[in-house]
């Protein structure tokens, strides 16, 4: 991994700044994979994940020195949530002026036949449509638990809520998701 050269090369690093940079690099290295998994739960399209992650880690770099301890995951998650909300609010402006980014290739399932892949994509698109209609809290809990594979306690720590609340949210989210999926089925969009 290349080192993060956030300053100009002519800058002389003080020991404190060097330590800060090292701290950021370690945070980035450790948490990037997690952040990329959180963002879809926050309603970010896979094509926009890199942009939002970049925006988020820029804020992390700026604010890392003000991190006062506690759960680093919850701190990063809160930043990601704010950045995602801002991104979604302005998404329509960006979509009108800029071309949408191409879908990343890593989203493809390796080794799938075209037929299976096509059917899976159809279902995944329907699932996305259902998820878009759900409330923020339910969607985050549902996606993190059912799709991204987090367990209840991990979600509770990230969201800074009790574990029982996580289970309640997942329970309601399942019911909501099922009701919305049944509507799609009634419309003939899914067999």
């Amino acid at each position: 991994m290349p080192s993060l050269d956030l300053g100009s090369s002519s800058d002389a690093l003080t020991p404190a700044k060097a330590a800060e940079r090292l701290a950021f690099e370690s945070v980035y290295s450790e948490w990037f994979g997690q952040v990329v998994r959180w963002l879809p739960a926050m309603g970010i399209r896979s094509a926009d994940v890199e942009d939002v992650a970049q925006e988020m880690f820029l804020i992390v770099d700026r604010k890392l020195s003000s991190f006062s301890g506690g759960s680093m995951g919850a701190w990063l998650y809160a930043i990601a949530l704010r950045v995602s909300n801002n991104h979604r609010r302005l998404a329509w402006v960006r979509s009108m002026i800029f071309r949408p980014a191409e879908d990343p290739v890593f989203d493809e399932r390796a080794g799938a036949t075209p037929e299976v892949d096509w059917e899976r994509k159809q279902l995944a698109q329907l699932a996305d449509e259902v998820l878009r209609g759900m409330s923020e809290k339910h969607r985050r809990a549902f996606v993190l638990f059912e799709i991204e594979g987090y367990d209840g306690s991990e979600i509770a720590e990230l969201e800074s809520i009790p574990l029982a609340t996580v289970w309640t949210r997942i329970h309601h989210a399942r019911k909501d998701f099922a009701a919305r999926a049944e509507k799609l089925k009634a419309q003939g969009l899914v067999k």
């Binding site: 956030l6 880690f57 002026i97």
Partner: protein, 255 residues
């Protein structure tokens, strides 16, 4: 709680949910994605952002929307300005029209005015409207219109604008005219005439004390004898009145 995709059997109402959820794959970090974002971060910190591909139609649409918004704002602003301007112009013109009609309407009751006020009005026709209790929005408009529309002073507006002494407030109106003739027009003769008229019409009027005091003041420079006469009459009627000292002073001057 077990994840739906891990359950061997699920209730029928959750079967479709499980299928849809299973179609969604967990997010995995793509090869070089981490490095790519890191490089973009560094570039952004240096101030260079990767250029995003613009959508020409979108840019044009945005420009069109901004243009329409600007035009609409300008039109609305212009309409508001015109409306405001028209309103103020209408107000001014209506006030001018009112001012112009006032003298002509005041002419109508002229024949019924008593002859007692006629001399005063003819003596100073332009002064009379000032004392009338009529609303005047602007003086120049009032004074200019009669001069333009009625060059011949055949029908002086003053008597009409003068409140009739026969009315209930005629007593105070007559005295008000006398005060105005002295204070504003600096015409003591007219004041004396009006005071005489008052004394003739209201020998026991409620404003008799003020009328006599006004007579003293008007006569003291031009006709001292008349001033003394007013002073004597005042002291006879109001020996402890508000103007008694002034009356005594006038009498002492003549001795």
């Amino acid at each position: 709680m077990e994840k739906l995709r891990d359950q061997t059997s699920v209730p029928a109402e959750l079967e479709l949910t499980r299928r849809l959820v299973s179609a969604k794959q967990p997010t995995v970090v793509a090869p070089f994605q981490k490095e790519r974002v890191l490089a973009r971060l560094a570039a952004q910190k240096r101030g260079s952002r990767p250029a995003r591909r613009l959508r020409p139609a979108g840019v044009l649409a945005a420009i069109a929307v901004l243009g329409l918004f600007s035009v609409a704002s300008a039109m609305i602003g212009r309409a508001l300005w015109r409306r405001l301007h028209a309103h103020s112009a209408a107000t001014v013109s209506s006030e001018r029209a009112r001012a112009a009609t006032e003298p002509s309407s005041a002419v109508q009751p002229a024949p019924s005015s008593p002859p007692a006020t006629a001399p005063a009005a003819t003596a100073e026709p332009s002064e009379a409207p000032k004392h009338a209790h009529v609303h005047r929005p602007s003086r120049p408009a009032v004074e200019a219109r009669p001069a333009k529309e009625e060059p011949a002073p055949a029908a002086p507006p003053a008597p009409a604008a003068t409140p009739s002494p026969d009315t209930n407030d005629g007593e105070s109106a007559l005295l008000a005219q006398a005060i105005a003739a002295l204070r504003r027009a600096h015409d003591p003769n007219r004041t004396l005439g009006l005071v005489d008229t008052y004394l003739a019409k209201y020998p026991h009027g409620t404003l008799l004390e003020e009328a006599l005091a006004l007579g003293i003041e008007a006569a003291r420079t031009g006709s001292p004898a008349q001033a003394r006469a007013f002073a004597q009459r005042y002291l006879a009627l109001f020996p402890t009145g508000r103007y008694a000292n002034e009356a005594r002073h006038i009498l002492s001057l003549s001795q």
